[in-house]
Subunit: 456 residues, 2 copies
Amino acid sequence: MSQLESALDYARAHKDEHLAELVDLLSIPSVSTLPEHKPDIRRCAEWLKAQLESLGLSTVELKETPGHPIVYGEWLEAPGKPTVLVYGHYDVQPADPFNEWDTPPFEPTVRDDYIYARGASDMKGQIFAQIKALQALTQFGEIPFNIKYLIEGEEEIGSENLEDFIDNNIDLLQCDFVLNTDAGIYAKGQPGITYSLRGLAYFEIELRAHQKDLHSGRFGGTVLNPIHELSKLITGLHDAQGRVTLPGFYDKVRDLPQEERDAIAQLPYSDEDWLGMSGSKVLGGEEGYTTLERVGVRPCLDVNGIWGGFVGEGAKTVLPAVAHCKLSTRLVAHQNHRDIPAMLEAYLKENVPEGLDWSLHDHSGGPGSTMDRHSPYMKAAEDALRTTYGKETLFSPEGGSIPVVGMMQEKLDSDSILLGFALPDDGIHGPNERQYLPNTFTGIETYIHYMMNVGG
Amino acid sequence: MSQLESALDYARAHKDEHLAELVDLLSIPSVSTLPEHKPDIRRCAEWLKAQLESLGLSTVELKETPGHPIVYGEWLEAPGKPTVLVYGHYDVQPADPFNEWDTPPFEPTVRDDYIYARGASDMKGQIFAQIKALQALTQFGEIPFNIKYLIEGEEEIGSENLEDFIDNNIDLLQCDFVLNTDAGIYAKGQPGITYSLRGLAYFEIELRAHQKDLHSGRFGGTVLNPIHELSKLITGLHDAQGRVTLPGFYDKVRDLPQEERDAIAQLPYSDEDWLGMSGSKVLGGEEGYTTLERVGVRPCLDVNGIWGGFVGEGAKTVLPAVAHCKLSTRLVAHQNHRDIPAMLEAYLKENVPEGLDWSLHDHSGGPGSTMDRHSPYMKAAEDALRTTYGKETLFSPEGGSIPVVGMMQEKLDSDSILLGFALPDDGIHGPNERQYLPNTFTGIETYIHYMMNVGG
């Protein structure tokens, strides 16, 4: 039997052991945001370190950071083969409110083919499946490519120390591509890969018209009202076609190949579902694009919050001194989030009436990214998914951001392949988070196929 | 000697006694908003009742209300003469922060021609002067007209029970005009009368686009943003000329006689002063009108507060479900505040995009009012002020509201003459409130002249 077939047989024969080990991993409350769980975080990192050691890697260690440690491993003894950086995280969200869990979040429980536990889907279940896949392969031969592992413990708190770590270890982390296992498929039985993510640039604007709040009777009608002026500025940021008016905003936005539009049009979608998910009665957005294009491959701008003047109960006749808003743009490849502040600044310079003071605070963000759908590493994933699911993969663009993907693209010049087996209704970040166990096992098989495909 | 001359002599001869009595009155902490001062409130009402009794009125009594009592008095034995309703209030604002007072707020202290005490200017000093003037007159003859007193104890808490009291006593309160003593002059040595007040209609708008807040990555660009839509609505409420766009808003606004515009143009004013007072760098408002016209005799609309979405520290990528604002119009005679809700409702019906839910909450308000500058009662005041100050009176329109003036106009069909002697820098509602003592004494003389003119 080939290494592939043996590994698949091995994985199928060890389901019980794998489940038991997964229960072990999910029992560790590695909540990164809570100081009282610091020992659990380290215990979880050590658990993974032991797993990586069992793979026969040449180096496995915990890389200390000012926060939680990064589990690092490598094996680079496949000359001429690609180098894959496997990314994952072992920290989880807090589990409260605990009373909304049917079974305790750190006592993993199997019901109806699901395993319920905090971190089951986001994302211990995914990195576990990848490790088990490689473990199966190493029983029957060498690792088919060069591999590096980077499993961080701070994803749920914004990967606070990851950027510095990458900056300080550019050479160490060089790779041909990143296998990001923090990912999911489209639906039960329907493989899918997210190939495009939006970036973010987030700002706060303050607009001041007076030194202090005024009496609206004493001064109303004779001076500028900063809420009126901020409303005008917000209104002016979109044109009648729903396009963002910031000069230069679309300059770097890539043209959409017809092939890609066709593929997006094939994705399961209905207005009714979208309205149901958003709890809205109408759709909106940029003219000339479908909803999935608007959210996936077109940039947008939203005011995220606004405040000014009197906001308490009842009536207070105040003419406010100042108004504020938070505002962000969602960016697509190849827009650079670092270009946006200057555009907004130019817009404000041009449009804030003389005599008003304004400030623009940059909350920073990250770039959008798109992965080459025709790269050999993407084809390898598509083929692996076809083999295990017996279905073609749906490639979909996603409206949100995965900062680490942009970071890897920017700092390591490496594309990410987002291959994981979470489902949209796994309830990540909420109570009763779960993973569909058939996905765990299919996931192990898919990773086995995938790694063999990549190793060629 | 005539009654007039004798009364003036009497007033001049009794300055010390008057000052001592004023100190008595100002020593009573009649703070209407604080329950612990309820006995003081009643003590103050009794003090005034005794004063009215000393005038020889035919009826003097405390009219009980669900809150603080109203001091009521009347003398109607001057057939063929006008009936004057004297309005005032005996309650005062709280005096805290106490440590900002140079001398205790309820230990009236004379320094440099001012008497410092809470209520000195707002408005015990005024109603006191009016009573002392009538007292002087009654030493030497009959009251020259029919008189009614209505001195309430709840002005500083929104005249909570006054409206009901008036509704239940329409006949009792019938009069030819109201002498409202809760008023001031233009500047030291410069008599002035406010002849026009703006009304108010105050609202709250809620605009909902989604059942709950959405993730701005997951949905941004595909659904409506209620903050954007509220901003458009706010922006649409003014045209490029600074006029309010609500259909019908200006229909009942009176035309401005050239004579009145000329008079307003004569009032002391400079842009620099106005900017200084408002703490602004630029002026704004309706095209074609001066600042004093804009604030005094033209209506306006201001958003008083706005809120929606994420307003905390940092960045949260929320696409808000709902946005709110508080919004009010300042109205001039003869606009009716009860007409405005329908205008706003029509505007929202016309302009809120389909699929958004909105609500309009009416915080109510009051009508604007303007007093006939050429009525005999106004002329009587102008003449009295000319006699005592040796200067022509400045008639000025005011941007704020005095709800009781609108209430009297609406319910009793009676104009108010605003005659009092507060100064703009008396510091009402703040620490170190004061009254300029020469104004107290000139005030008594002016009221003497005024009453003789009216009875004339």
